[in-house]
């Protein structure tokens, strides 16, 4: 009896080992999936703004006469490797952005308020016009995104979603002021100003991630800002139109289908995962879904 079963046991053991090897060895390869991981160490830098967008890229493209701000970000990548990204932001772009968003003191004209980045949703009630700000900031971001992408050292075709999410999560969470440079900004920084100031809150960071994703060639999918409010407790997240994987939380839009939530406020949350409090907030509260692209 034993003599007959022993070879069978060995065959089963060998087969199990083979199955384990075929399943787990490919996990260590780099991957084009949106949870992809990067390999090398490195720093990257490039210029943001209109000149950069016109074709001057990389370190060799320093326009000497243009004044710029340098912003260094040290962060831990998805593979837990220390990364450094250096963004160069033109002074004129920062000035333009400050001028474009925020209502000056005492200004009450609905036309001006709408022009300065707000939208009216009830009489005398306004909220930040995320779509308008998102579309205006697209101009600055191709270069900034390529700079960030370079520091992640993803292989060509690799989906940068997870790396971008991890980067934005590590930007310090701090509520922007109500007034900035003499303008009422309602505690919201536009994406370029968020990078310039090196901090932001939930909606600021969500819109920044949206800019990075939208201006990256390899990140596919429509993005939307989702706001929730429940008796004064409010939060915002970014949502991306992708097919969810097992265990992920999903948001369903009747016309647009399933969206995966991206939590930008705190590190440690993978795409499709939210804390229990945030999930409860989105289940119970009033939810606003704002398409960006």
């Amino acid at each position: 009896m034993n003599a007959k079963t022993k070879p069978i046991n060995r065959t089963i053991a060998l087969l199990s080992v083979l199955v384990m090897i075929t399943l787990f060895i490919p996990l260590r390869k780099s991957t084009p999936f949106y949870l992809s991981f990067s390999r090398l160490d490195g720093r990257s830098q490039s210029f943001a703004g209109s000149k950069q967008a016109n074709g001057k890229k990389g370190e060799g493209a320093f326009p000497k006469k243009e004044k710029y701000f340098q912003r260094n970000y040290k962060w831990l990548g998805v593979s837990k490797k220390q990364r450094e990204t250096i963004f160069h932001i033109y002074e004129k772009d920062v000035k333009k952005e400050i001028k474009s968003f925020g209502v000056p003191h005492g200004q009450k004209s609905p036309l001006v308020i709408r022009k300065k980045g707000y939208m009216q949703f009830a009489p005398d009630q306004y909220m930040v016009n995320y779509k308008q700000i998102f579309q205006r900031n697209r101009e600055y971001f191709p270069a900034l995104t390529s700079s960030l992408l370079l520091s992640t050292e993803l292989l060509p075709g690799g989906d940068p979603l997870f790396e971008f999410l991890v980067f934005v999560q590590q930007i310090p969470f701090k509520l922007p002021p109500k007034f900035y440079e003499g303008r009422f900004i309602n505690s919201f920084f536009t994406p370029l100003i968020c990078l310039y100031e090196k901090y932001g809150d939930c909606d600021t960071k969500s819109l920044l991630l949206a800019e990075f994703l939208d201006t990256s060639k390899d990140a596919k999918g429509k993005v939307a800002i989702v706001l929730a409010d429940y008796f004064g407790t409010s939060h915002s997240i970014l949502a991306i139109n992708r097919k969810p994987l097992p265990g992920m939380t999903t948001l369903y839009h009747p016309q647009k289908g399933y969206f995966i939530p991206l939590e930008t406020s705190a590190p440690g949350w993978s795409p499709g995962f939210l804390s229990k409090n945030v999930t409860d907030l989105f289940q119970r509260g009033h939810v606003f879904f704002i398409d960006l692209n």
């Binding site: 787990f24 490919p26 998805v78 992920m248 440690g268």
Partner: protein
Amino acid sequence: MNEMSQLRILSTVIYLALIFISSIVSVLGSIGIISFLTRKSIDVKEEIVKNKNVGIALVLVSFIWAIGRMCIETVRPIMNAWYSGYASGFTFKTILFFSLGFLGSLLVALISGTLIIFLSMRILMVLTRDVDEWLEIKQGNTAVALVISATIFVVGMFFESIISYIVIHMFGF
């Protein structure tokens, strides 16, 4: 095999394994707790199948629910850790830590569920000192079983929200 479909298959296997193990832990754990609390004076299987004791069935259901809820609360942090681990690339060390965290989380869920049941039973015993609840249930008193079940449901609902925090902080998920 496509990288995406490989991840999908592996994630589905882990997700199903989690649900399957959670179900087994909650059912076996509940039967074990009843045997322990009654000092093996009640044979759950015999009471439900042979004697058709609805009271025991009700109490068992509430126990399974309490432990099951705790286990389900650990699924989210485990899957979150799984996707992060996959993205960063698994090594032997990370696989070992993930597996230990996986089992540890379910153990925490089982212990938490057991504590909730003990706490609920203690609350009832303090309120009704002159009543032997288990004896009443064994004799077919469904009303007592209903009160015990309801207490466990309520205490379980209060505690289920903290399990994911415990798991996240204990195992770094």
